[in-house]
Every structure is written in C-alpha cells, then in structure tokens.
Amino acid sequence: MPINIHLAGIDYAILAIYFTFVLGIGFALKKTMKGSSDFFLSGRSIPAWVTGLAFLSANLGAQEVIGMAASGAKYGIMTSHFYWVGAIPAMVFLAIFMMPFYYGSKARSVPEYLKLRFDEKTRGFNAISFAVMTIFSSGISLHALARLLETLVKWDYWTCIWVCAFIVLVYIFLGGLTSAIYNEVLQFFMIVLGFSPLVYLGLRDVGGWSALQEKLIPVATSQGYAAGTWTQSWEHMGNPIENPMGVNWFAMVMGLGFVLSFGYWCTDFLVVQRAMAAKSMSAARRTPLIAAGPKMLFPILVILPGMIAIALNNQSGGAFLPTGADGHPDYNMVIPSMLAHYFPPGLLGLGFTALMASFMAGMAGNVTAFNTVWTYDIYQSYIAPKKSDSHYLWMGRWATVFGILVSIGAAFMASKFNNIMDMLQLVFGFVNAPLFATFLLGMFWKRATGHGAFFGLVGGTLAAMAFHGLSCAVGVAPGIKGGWIEPHFLFRSEMGQNFYMAIVAWTSCFLLTIGISMLTARTKSDADLKGLVYSLTPKPESEAEPWYARPAFVGIVVLLITVGLNILFW
C-alpha cells in the first residue's frame, strides 16, 4: 500500500511561512555581502552556537534523516555506531587537534590548507575531486527530494526540482555562506521540533521502550538472528554472521570509526567550512563540540523511529510500511509513513516542512562548499588569478547559479540512469577513503612532503579501486558492486566490504606517503610550516576561558558521555 500524505490548508500555510523566512533571511543579509570573504567565509564573524548548529545541520540532509531511519529499521540500534563510534570521536578530534591548523593558518578552504602545507598538485587533486563530488551530491539530494514529493503528495517531479533549486539559489546568491548557515540553524530547529512529537507518539503507540524491546525480538529471530540483536549495539559484533550489518567490531571501529568518520568530519570542507566561519579561534574550536551535544542524542530522533516502525510493521503483519520492489519493507519510507500515520493536519504541516528542510539543508551545504572551492581553489588559482576582490564575489554568485544548474543536470541524470550515479558514488568512495591519512601525516609529521602526499593519495585511491575489484559481498553478482577484476575476497555484506576497502586505502596512503616523503627532499622549511604542523605551532592560547569551557575539557566530557551511551546500550 503506497503512502499518501494529504496536506490541508493549514499545512500549506506552515510550509509557506517557512519558505518566507528562508528567503527573508537571504534578503536581509544581502546588504552585508560587501566582499568575497563575507560571501565565502561569513567574514569570520559568526558566534559559536550558530556555527555549531550549522555544522550539524549541513550534514542533516536526506541521507541522515531518511537513511538513518531506514538503517534503524534494517539493523536496529547498531546504527548508533555511526554516531557513537563514528561522528562524535571525530568531531572531538577536529575541535581539539585539527581546528587550530585550519583556522590558525588562515586558509580559506580545506584544499587551500593542502596547498599551504604541501603543494599545488595535492590541492588541485583535492579541490577538483571535491568540487565534482559536492555538486553531484547536491544533485542527488535534489533528485531524492523531488522523487519523495512525487510519491507522497503527487507533486510534479520537475516542478519540485525547479522550485526547490530556485529557493536554495536565491538565498545563497543573496546572502552567501552566512545565509546558508543561518538557514541551516533554522532547519536544525525545524527538524528537531518537527520530528520530536513523532518519536513521542510512536513510542507511546508501541508501548514504551521495554515493550519496543520485546516487539523487536521476533523481528530479529524471524531473520535468523539472536533475540536482542535489534536492541544491543555491541553484543553481536564478534562475528559478521551474527548481525544484520554483516560486519565485526574491528571493521566497525577501524573502517567506519577511524577511517571513514574521521575522514568525513575532519577533512570534508562541507562541514569544516562552518567552523571556519566562526568569529574567533575559540569559537571555531567550540563549533564541533557544540555540534557534538545534539549529535549524541540524534539517534533518538532518527534511529528510534526506524526501530518503532519495523516493530509495528512486524506486529501488524506488514501493514505499517509499504513493500518495496524487492519484497522487503521499503525502509526509506519510515519517516514518511510515520508522518502520515500519526500527525493530524497542523502538526503534519510542521513535520512535512521539516522533511523538506532536511533535504534542502543537504543541498545548500553542498552548494556553498562548491562555490568556495570553485572560486578560491580552482578559478582564482588556475583560471583568473590576481583579479579584484569584487570580481571574486561576482564569480562566487555566478558559481552558485552554475552549481545549481549542474545539480539539476545531475538530478536529471539520476532520474534517467541510476547506474551512472552509483558509479559516481563509487568513484567518490575511492577518492575519499585515503584522505584522512594525508591530513594526519600533514598535521603531525613535518617531514611529510608534497610528493609524498600527492602520490600517497593517488596510491590510496588506486588501492581502494583494486580492492573493490577484487572483493565482493556474498550473493552479489560481480560488477558495479565489486569483484569486477575477480571476486577474490568475500564479505558478509557490502557494508563490510566498504569498511575494509577504507582500511586498505587508508593504510596504503599512509605507508606510501611516509615512504615517498623519506625518499624526496622537503620543499617547505620549518618556518614555512609554522601554524600548519603540530610540532611547529605554538599552543593556542585558551583566550582566558574558564577551565570548564576549554576545548580539551569539554571534549573529554563529550567522549565520556559517548562511552557511557555505548555501555548503556551494549
């Protein structure tokens, strides 16, 4: 049974008011955009609570809200590893160890940091791959939103694409990064306040947490897993065959935790850009820590609905979630199903608007990261250096238009040829997997050279590709999902294959960078690297903060709470 959401007049009113505010913020910020640094860096003037919530919200796109709820239904509470093993430790590491270099070096983007630390080719490799990736991600977000609206409320696919793209375009074109950041904070509150009643009603309906635990037992046993698999996060991770994710603790901690999450949260300009817009070094360092607070609790908002939905679906014999093309429940429909099921007119408008807001947050984040990297790292570096600042501001505005048009093109491709998008995401995975090794060596080992970094990255990317060609998940035909050279290594699941691929890519990049650096001469002196490498940088002054507000202390508290959460749901 497909889900339909019927919007009443009051729901449309809420939607309209929301978009009025979104656009209004763009118009109100227009006059503050005087130079390129206002447009791309918000003039480094934003208070930490704002950048912190934007840091979180830029990542709170479709993958997060729809995807994590789907994983909650598919894998249960093990999905929390994406938060309590993945995101939180990486965010604390970024705040304490990496932010001083990003912010202190006055680099305007992550690729620019690579240029200052290593050389032009390393920056070029990162800037170009990142620019292409973000713009396609933005297109995928747009496509997913339009597809969802088409299914749920029967709006026309192309009208959705153009209207949503236009709204994002207007507010970024006018207000640049500040506008994106302000709107992300608005979206953050929209999502939290729009979905909390959903979780409350769902949990009440299922009979509370202990009733939910009981109702998840048959979900696990009917699929051949131990009774508590859906409600215990670590208990069943000894062997990949014991859990629905098909991964063991080592792949989880090293692959997802260390390589992929650190790689994403610490080096992806989409999120780091938010912290770089903060008004001072201490605000920049507090940004990821402020984000870590709500992030720790997000499993309640995004994973719990998935668990509730699958329990109710199982109890009702499959009547809660629609059935997908493969005969399994359509996990991506968890949040839409719950909206349609529990929310009366009025609140439905709020929840539906929150859903749209999450998709647009993902898209806008990508667009602002793209226009900055394009303008500073590609256009100013290779195409038109030494132009006036107002020229780059002009370029930034038009890069926004161009970026959004390409996103629409990407959405078109995604709607016509699903395989091309899978292929692109695969290639992005190859490029991303080794990145964290380069940054780690760059920041903590002054001997790492430009050649070492560049060939290490290329080597890591090739290693990822080779590993993918040689490995396959059980039951998957060799091809785009792996094994296209020869399915030599078999994994229990694609996720396991993916985590090991990341580990292999990271290790290759790490070793190659060290080896090549030892063989090549340093091109940057100790003086050049001041502010870019840990051992050559004076410790950041704690800016007269009391001890309880210092990043190291807050970071430790955050980590202790995270350990506590892991133990609580062990």
Binding site: L29, L186, F189, L201, F343, P345, G346, L347, L350
Partner: protein, 65 residues
C-alpha cells in the same frame, strides 16, 4: 552587521506555535484519532509558542551575542 539569528527563529516558531494552538482549540476531536487521541496541535503548538517567545526574549534582552 549580521542581525541576531534568534530574532527570525523566535518569530517563526512563535507564529507556528500560535497557529497550531489556535487550530488545536477550534478543531474537533475526530482528527486526533491518529495521534492516539491526544490534541497534539494544542500541546505541541503551546510548546513551540513558549520556545519562540523565549528566543525573542533573549534576542531583545541582549542586543548582540
């Protein structure tokens, strides 16, 4: 300079809160069957109104962060 972000947040959620509260007061009980018989518009609308007004209060009390 940039304006205080608490202003639009406070204003928007006060409006949402106001609309939902009023709608909760005038709507009949039949639409609340799906929300387990709870008048969520009234309750949650009230909550949003309080949140929005608090944001506005802090925005006006301290002009700049």
């Amino acid at each position: 300079m940039n304006f205080d972000l608490r202003l639009p947040i406070g204003l928007m959620f006060s409006i949402f809160g106001g609309i939902l509260t009023i709608y909760g007061l005038i709507s009949g009980p039949e639409i609340y069957a799906r929300s387990l018989g709870i008048n969520v518009n009234l309750w949650w609308g009230g909550g949003l109104l309080v949140f929005g007004l608090l944001m506005l209060f802090f925005a006006f009390r301290k002009p700049r962060d």
